[in-house]
């Protein structure tokens, strides 16, 4: 066990830190769930990409730097330390990108990855349907093969950032006689394809953070298929591993929130019961535990290990921690916790309310925590189905 960074890792951290100090926006951008905010976030992503930092673990040819997973963690730590903007293209960068890396042809990699890195093309994820939520294998949207293209029909829903995205990656039933997870195909579809209609849906905060997407004989070339026809489930599951695991929610995010929570508590400690301090301490401790566990996992992966069902433990842990931290912060803030950012008295309150509303979704998206607990019980503990 060696818990020191190498000289190269320290140099990398310093480089990221310097670049972010010089380039990260001084004031928060508008929410990327507004047209104006989406444009600001795209501009930021373009700048990040010009700096070579859009997706450091990717190979150089696709806009990355060939960084290893440890450097990825370091990058994330610096990114959150700098309080840099949320990633508008996270579905592309963190979910689809790694999947293309694994299943894409060279042509697909060259076509999609660089424009993903620059956020010229922002991606939405089209898995859920009105009747396929937790039961994702119940997907009913279809892809009908016609020569060198597919005709897409049906409906996707809850596609995050679908309102302002350019492309959607989704799963469609290509074999009409198939059942469950067989006969599904993973398809990449431009959202301006004729026959595709996007209807934004306002979320809990009132902004159109996700969208329904309707397909009516939308024509997509076969070369936009990822993996083999009928193999979509397998391809998608590789994304699920990444989503719940390392990429989407690296520990720095929660350490950043934990630090803000500790600072908030310190400012109010004299007025608060000891129990609040104990609860804050538990949260900080849990964020450290998540960090240590991630370093442990990354060390294992570096030595050739794989992420399996334990990604479900991660997902439960971070989503419930995030929610607890925001609940506590609002509790500490008291009546100020009710204030919208536009309230004149909201200065210095921070974005805890926004964060809380978002944290509430954590136990739902990326596979609900009930489903994750089933997975932990069945695949890790080995309980009977």
């Amino acid at each position: 066990m060696k818990l020191e960074y190498s000289a190269a890792q320290r140099a990398f951290r310093a480089e990221v830190r310097d670049w972010l100090e010089a380039n990260a926006p001084a004031a928060p951008l508008k929410s990327f769930d507004t047209a104006e905010g989406a444009a600001e976030h795209r501009a930021w992503e373009a700048k990040l990409n010009d700096g070579g930092f859009a997706m450091v673990p990717w190979p150089k040819e696709y806009g990355g730097r060939g960084a290893d997973l440890l450097e990825w963690l370091i990058f994330e730590e610096e990114y959150y330390r700098a309080d840099a903007p949320k990633r508008i293209n996270q579905n592309g960068l963190f979910l689809l990108g790694p999947t293309i890396m694994e299943y894409g042809s060279d042509e697909q990699k060259a076509r999609f990855l660089p424009r993903m890195a620059s956020s010229e093309e922002v991606w939405a994820q089209g898995w859920s349907e009105p009747n396929a939520g937790s039961d994702m294998a119940n997907i009913q949207a279809t892809a009908h093969r016609h020569g060198d293209h597919y005709l897409l029909n049906g409906q996707k829903t809850w596609a995050s950032r679908g309102a302002f995205a350019d492309w959607l990656f989704g799963m469609f039933r290509s074999d009409p006689t198939s059942k469950r997870h067989r006969g599904l195909t993973f398809i990449l579809c431009p959202l301006d394809t004729p026959g595709v209609r996007v209807r934004p849906i306002p979320q809990l905060d009132g902004l159109p953070g996700f969208a329904e997407v309707f397909f009516d004989d939308a024509q997509v070339p076969v070369k936009n298929r990822l993996g083999e026809e009928g193999e979509g489930w397998k391809v998608a599951m590789s994304t699920a591993g990444f989503e719940r695991g390392l990429m989407l929610r690296s520990p720095a995010r929660f350490q950043h929130t934990a630090r803000r929570l500790v600072e908030l508590w310190r400012r109010h400690a004299n007025e608060l019961p000891a129990a609040t301090g104990a609860a804050v301490t538990r949260c900080w401790l849990a964020a450290e535990a998540y960090t240590l566990d991630t370093y442990r996992t990354v060390s294992r992966l570096a030595a050739g290990g794989k992420i399996g069902a334990e990604a479900s433990l991660n997902k439960i842990f971070w989503s419930e921690l995030d929610l607890r931290m925001h609940e506590l912060a609002l509790d500490i803030l008291g009546e100020q916790g009710e204030l919208l950012p536009t309230a004149p008295a909201a200065r210095g309150v921070g974005n805890w309310l926004d964060g809380y509303l978002f944290a509430l979704a954590g136990p739902i998206y990326a596979g609900t925590n009930e489903i994750q607990r089933n997975i932990v019980a069945e695949r890790i503990l080995g309980l009977p189905r």
Partner: protein, 356 residues
């Protein structure tokens, strides 16, 4: 940066695990419970032969010359078996304390600990009772917070305090201190006591992980076999989620314990903080595990006959030993409130960086 154990460390764990699976079964523990001392001289000798009692003792004095990072996995294995022998008191706490006291006392006792010929018990100013005083050949005891005294058992009065965990033997110990018995005082003694508390807490935390793992295994195997409503009760989602929640607490306590072991081994400035984080999380997981696995067993788990309670009692006694969950949470809370160290993204391994 490599948060992994090397092959030798993993090998030691599996050796101890296999040994205890065979030699320290619940049936063996139950026999020991009924015995006068609840301790097995044969088992202790065999543990010594494996190197466990001398793990932290320098090679020159007959030990393995390893550190806490190497000890944490074998200790987890001891917890898993519910081992009652004083590996914490003697091997994890007394041995390094003697090593630091040094001099003739260390030269006399360390080789004997390594060979399994001596058991040494340690008291602490924050604790009322001394673990395994009843069997100790030598006791290292506090007078106030500023003096460490070393006395043979014949020179102290041991009054045993029956405990809820029959594997645990604790006692109040009275003695007449003299200049002769004092082996450290003042600043030195306080530093020794601080390190002792951290070592005791770390070793208990590591055992608690093993206990929690064992509780889970017992519950998984029982609920996979017990049928109600025509199906295994382990297939009911309420049962699954109870046990998944235990697994969650266990898996996120583990890296805290491993990291604390590293900090103790390196005498890091954040040693106490890291130990408290670990002890809090590991004992909370084990105590939670006891409650949940009992629930998943139903009435059978509520009996003396079923083995579950061997490990439930272990979970509770380890929680009570060397500072409870809330004692350690409070130590973390204070340090955090004072702003005694950097926090936030990138700060986790800051302390280690200053080393080089």
């Amino acid at each position: 940066m490599d948060f992994r154990f090397d092959e030798e460390q993993q090998l030691l764990q599996s050796t101890v695990r296999h040994f205890l699976d065979a030699e320290c079964t619940p049936a063996v523990l139950r026999v020991l419970w009924e015995s006068e001392t609840a301790r097995s001289p044969e088992l202790w000798k065999k543990l010594a032969a494996l190197g466990l009692t001398g793990l932290l003792i320098p090679e020159a004095q007959g030990g393995m010359g390893l550190d806490e990072t190497a000890f944490v996995l074998p200790l987890e294995a001891c917890g898993h078996a519910g081992l009652a022998e004083p590996v914490v008191a003697t091997a994890a706490v007394a041995a390094p304390l003697l090593r630091e006291v040094a001099g003739a006392l260390a030269d006399e006792w360390l080789p004997r600990i390594a060979t399994g010929d001596a058991r040494v018990a340690v008291g602490h100013p924050t604790l009322s009772f001394v673990e395994d005083a009843h069997q100790a050949d030598l006791l290292l005891l506090p007078r106030g917070e500023d003096e460490v005294h070393a006395l043979p058992r014949s020179a102290v009065q041991v009054s045993e305090q029956p405990a809820n965990d029959p594997s645990l033997r604790i006692a109040s110990v009275a003695f007449d201190a003299s200049d002769n018995s004092c082996v450290a005082r003042g600043k030195k003694a306080r530093a020794l006591f601080a390190a002792t508390l951290d070592r005791g807490a770390l070793a208990s935390a590591a055992q608690a992980l093993g206990v929690c793992e064992r509780l889970l295994q017992l519950a998984v195997s029982y609920t996979s076999e017990r049928h109600q409503f025509g199906q295994a009760v382990g297939s009911f989602q309420a049962v699954k989620h109870h046990l998944a929640n235990v697994k969650l607490k266990l898996e996120y306590a583990r890296p805290l314990v491993q990291r604390a072991a590293h900090s103790v081994a390196k005498a890091s400035a954040q040693r106490a903080l890291h130990v408290s984080m670990a002890k809090h999380a590991a004992c909370e997981a084990a105590v939670f595990g006891a409650k949940q696995t009992l629930q998943c067993h139903g009435a059978i788990g509520y009996t003396w006959e079923q083995d579950l309670h061997i490990f439930m009692r272990r979970a509770w006694s380890l929680d009570h030993a060397w500072g409870s969950s809330s004692f350690h949470l409070e130590r973390v809370r204070r340090a955090l409130l004072e702003g005694a160290f950097a926090i936030g993204p990138g700060a986790t391994f800051q302390e280690e960086q200053q080393d080089d």
